[in-house]
C-alpha cells in the first residue's frame, strides 16, 4: 500500500509540471477535436496525430499520446450520440440509446452522463492499473522466449475469435500480417527479406504507414462511397449537466460497467467492444422494464460508455507489462512506444519508473481535464459536427500525408501508404478485417524472434512450448478459445453480438 502511494507520488511529481500538463492538455484536446470528426475513428486519429509527438522528449510524447488516445475515445462517443456514426466498434453501443436520447431532445444529458461515467470509470481503472500492473510485470520478468511466444499466440488467437466477420478470413489476415512484419532486415542473419532490392523497404515497413493506409485512407474511401446525408442534433445541445434524477438512474449502471470493463480490458484481444456489449446486455437483463432499452434508456448509455472507457484504460496493463496490445488501437500505441525508443515489456516499469507511473497518473489527470475543460467546450465540438464530410476528409488526408512524410522525411513512405490504402480498401470490400492484420503486423517481429530463440535454447525440441508450465497454460487457453470458436452455440452468440453494424 505504501509502495502504491510512493509510486503514485512519483507519477504526480512527473505530471504536475507546467510543461507536462500542457502536453497532456494538448493531447486531450487534439484527440477530442479529431475524434469528434465523423468518419475518423480513434485509430485513425492517433495515427494522424502521431507526428505531432515525434519531436518531443519521451515522457511528454507518451503522455500526449495517451491524451490523444482517450480524447479521441471521448470525441468518438460524442459523434456516436449526436450523429449515430460510431467512430469505432466499441462506440456502436453508444449509438443505440445515446442517439435515441439525442433525438428526444436530451442530447445534453446524454453527453454529460457519458463524460461523467467515463471519468468515474477512468479513475477506477487508473487505480486498477496501479494495483495490478506491478505484480503482473514481476511475473512477466520471469518469462523466457517460450512463454512470450505462447503469449503472443494467445493474443493473436483472441484477436481472431473477436474479429467481427468470418473467422477463416481473420486467420488468413493474421498470417498475412505476420508475413508483412518480416519485410526488411532479419536481425538474426542480417539478410534482407521481401525488399525487392529497395533500400527503403530494407528498413522494414513502418506501422504508421500500415495503420494510416489501412485504417485512415481506406476508411475515407469507403465513407465516400456512401451517398448519405446525416442529420445531426446540434441545436438541441443545451444543459449538459444531467439532472439529479438521471444520475440516480444511471450510477449503478456506471459502477457495473466500470467493473465489467476493467476485467475485459485486460484480456488480450477483447478490449472495449466486448465490454460495452456485455454491459449493455447486462443492464437490459436486470432492468425492471427492458422494453425501455433502445428507446433512450440512460442506463443503456451510461453502462456501456463506462465499460468502454474503463476497458480502454486497463488495456494498458498487458500493453505496458507484457508488450501485448489488446486491440488495434493499443497496437498503434505500442508502435508509438517503440518509435520513442522504449522496448515494451516487463522491464519498462523497473528501468523507466518515472515514465511508467507518470503515464498512469497522466491518464487520470487527462480524464479530469476532459470533464472539467472539455465539457464546457462541448459547444465547439458540436459545431464541428455540422461541418460536412466533404470538407473534412481532404484535411485529414493532408495531415496524414505530412505526418507520414515527417516520420522519415521520405516521400517514398507516402507512396507505400497508397499501396496499403488500396490493400485496406480491397480487404474492406472482401470483408477481411484489417484489425487482426495490424495486430499481427506489430507482433510479428518479436514473435519470430522468441520462436527462434526458444528453439535454439531447446536444441530444436518443439515440446519446449508445452514443457514450461506457463507457456503450456497460454497454449491451452488458445486451444480452448479455438474450440469455443468452432462450437456452434458460441458461434451463434458471437454472430449476434458482432454483426450489429
Amino acid at each position: 500500500m505504501v509502495e502504491l502511494l510512493d509510486h503514485l507520488a512519483l507519477g504526480f511529481s512527473v505530471v504536475l509540471t507546467p510543461e507536462t500538463l500542457l502536453y497532456c492538455f494538448l493531447g486531450v484536446t487534439l484527440g477530442t477535436l479529431v475524434g469528434v470528426l465523423p468518419g475518423v475513428g480513434p485509430l485513425a486519429t492517433i495515427a494522424v496525430l502521431l507526428p505531432f509527438t515525434f519531436n518531443l522528449p519521451t515522457i511528454p510524447a507518451l503522455i500526449m499520446l495517451a491524451g490523444i488516445y482517450y480524447g479521441s475515445q471521448y470525441g468518438g462517443s460524442t459523434t456516436a450520440i449526436l450523429l449515430k456514426v460510431p467512430g469505432e466498434s466499441s462506440a456502436v453501443v453508444a449509438c443505440l440509446d445515446g442517439h435515441e436520447m439525442a433525438r428526444q431532445g436530451r442530447a445534453g444529458p446524454a453527453l454529460g452522463i457519458a463524460a461523467l461515467g467515463s471519468f468515474f470509470a477512468g479513475t477506477v481503472a487508473t487505480v486498477v492499473i496501479a494495483l495490478f500492473a506491478p505484480p503482473l510485470a514481476a511475473v512477466a520478468l520471469e518469462f523466457g522466449a517460450p512463454e512470450f511466444f505462447s503469449l503472443m499466440v494467445l493474443g493473436l488467437i483472441s484477436a481472431i475469435v473477436l474479429a467481427h466477420g468470418d473467422m477463416l478470413k481473420a486467420v488468413a489476415m493474421v498470417i498475412l500480417g505476420l508475413i508483412a512484419s518480416l519485410v526488411g532486415i532479419d536481425t538474426n542473419s542480417g539478410e534482407t527479406r521481401f525488399a525487392f532490392g529497395s533500400l527503403q523497404l530494407a528498413e522494414g515497413l513502418s506501422f504508421v504507414i500500415v495503420a494510416l493506409g489501412m485504417f485512415g485512407f481506406a476508411e475515407v474511401i469507403v465513407n465516400l462511397e456512401r451517398h448519405e446525408t446525416r442529420e445531426p442534433f446540434t441545436d438541441k445541445v443545451r444543459n449538459i449537466l444531467p439532472s439529479w434524477n438521471d444520475i440516480k438512474q444511471a450510477w449503478k449502471a456506471v459502477v457495473r460497467g466500470t467493473v465489467l470493463g476493467a476485467f475485459f480490458g485486460v484480456l488480450p484481444g477483447t478490449g472495449a467492444t466486448i465490454s460495452a456489449f456485455a454491459s449493455y446486455s447486462l443492464e437490459k437483463k436486470i432492468a425492471k422494464d427492458p422494453s425501455r432499452f433502445g428507446k433512450g434508456a440512460i442506463e443503456g448509455l451510461a453502462g456501456p460508455e463506462s465499460a468502454n472507457n474503463s476497458a480502454a484504460q486497463t488495456a494498458f496493463i498487458p500493453m505496458l507489462t507484457l508488450g501485448l496490445p489488446a486491440s488495434a488501437t493499443m497496437a498503434v500505441m505500442l508502435g508509438a512506444l517503440t518509435l520513442q525508443g522504449i522496448n515494451p515489456g516487463p522491464q519498462v516499469m523497473t528501468s523507466n519508473p518515472d515514465l511508467f507511473w507518470g503515464l498512469i497518473v497522466s491518464m487520470w489527470i487527462g480524464n479530469l481535464m476532459l470533464v472539467v475543460l472539455n465539457l464546457p467546450m462541448i459547444g465547439i465540438w458540436v459545431r464541428l459536427l455540422t461541418v460536412p464530410y466533404r470538407y473534412l476528409y481532404p484535411a485529414v488526408l493532408v495531415f496524414a500525408c505530412i505526418g507520414i512524410y515527417s516520420v522519415n522525411n521520405a516521400t517514398f513512405d507516402i507512396l507505400v501508404t497508397v499501396g496499403f490504402a488500396l490493400f485496406g480498401y480491397l480487404c474492406a470490400k472482401l470483408e477481411c478485417e484489417a484489425a487482426p492484420f495490424l495486430l499481427a503486423f506489430i507482433l510479428g517481429t518479436p514473435m519470430e524472434e522468441h520462436f527462434r530463440r526458444a528453439l535454439l535454447i531447446s536444441h530444436g525440441d518443439l515440446t519446449t512450448f508445452i514443457r514450461q508450465p506457463i507457456s503450456a497454460g497460454f497454449l491451452a487457453a488458445s486451444v480452448v478459445l479455438l474450440l469455443f470458436m468452432i462450437a456452434p452455440a458460441f458461434r451463434k452468440t458471437r454472430e449476434e453480438v458482432m454483426i450489429e453494424d
Partner: protein, 150 residues
C-alpha cells in the same frame, strides 16, 4: 458439373490469400531455410506462406458451396481520385514543394466526392495551406520545401 460462384467475396479473398501465400513461399526460397534448431531467415516465412496458402484455398473452395451469396460493388471514383491525390502529393512534395503538392491532393481528393464544388475546394485549399505551413513548416519545422525551386 457446373460450378458457380456463390460468394464473390470469398472467391476473390481466397485468390488474394493464395497469391500472397505462393509469393511468400516462392520468395522465401531465396533465403536460407535452416533447421528447427537453428532457423534461417527463410524458415518462418515459408511456414507462414504454406499456412496462408492452405487457408486461402479453403476460402476459395468455400465460395462455390457454403456461405451467403455476395457480390462486390466497387465505386471507382473515390478510390481512384483519392489515391491519385495522395500519390500526387508524394511525388510532388520534394520537387514542387508543399503548396503545389497540397493543391494537387486537395483538388483530386475533392473530386472523389459526389458533392464536388470547385469554389469550396479552392477555399478549403487556402485554409489548409495556411494552417499546414504555419504548423508544420514554421512551427514543427518538418524538413520540406514550401515552393518549387526556380
Amino acid at each position: 458439373m457446373h460450378l458457380r460462384i456463390r460468394s464473390q467475396k470469398d472467391f476473390y479473398a481466397g485468390l488474394m490469400f493464395i497469391g500472397f501465400g505462393i509469393f511468400a513461399v516462392y520468395e522465401s526460397r531465396k533465403y536460407d531455410f535452416g533447421a528447427l534448431e537453428r532457423m534461417g531467415p527463410g524458415y518462418f516465412p515459408t511456414i507462414l506462406g504454406i499456412m496462408l496458402l492452405t487457408i486461402g484455398t479453403a476460402i476459395f473452395l468455400r465460395s462455390f458451396s457454403a456461405g451467403a451469396i455476395s457480390k462486390i460493388v466497387i465505386d471507382l471514383r473515390p478510390i481512384v481520385l483519392v489515391l491519385s491525390g495522395v500519390a500526387a502529393f508524394g511525388l510532388l512534395l520534394n520537387t514542387a514543394g508543399l503548396v503545389v503538392a497540397t493543391f494537387a491532393l486537395v483538388l483530386l481528393s475533392c473530386l472523389g466526392s459526389w458533392e464536388f464544388r470547385l469554389r469550396d475546394s479552392l477555399i478549403l485549399f487556402l485554409i489548409l495551406i495556411v494552417f499546414c505551413s504555419a504548423v508544420f513548416y514554421y512551427g514543427l519545422e518538418v524538413s520540406m520545401r514550401l515552393w518549387p525551386e526556380f
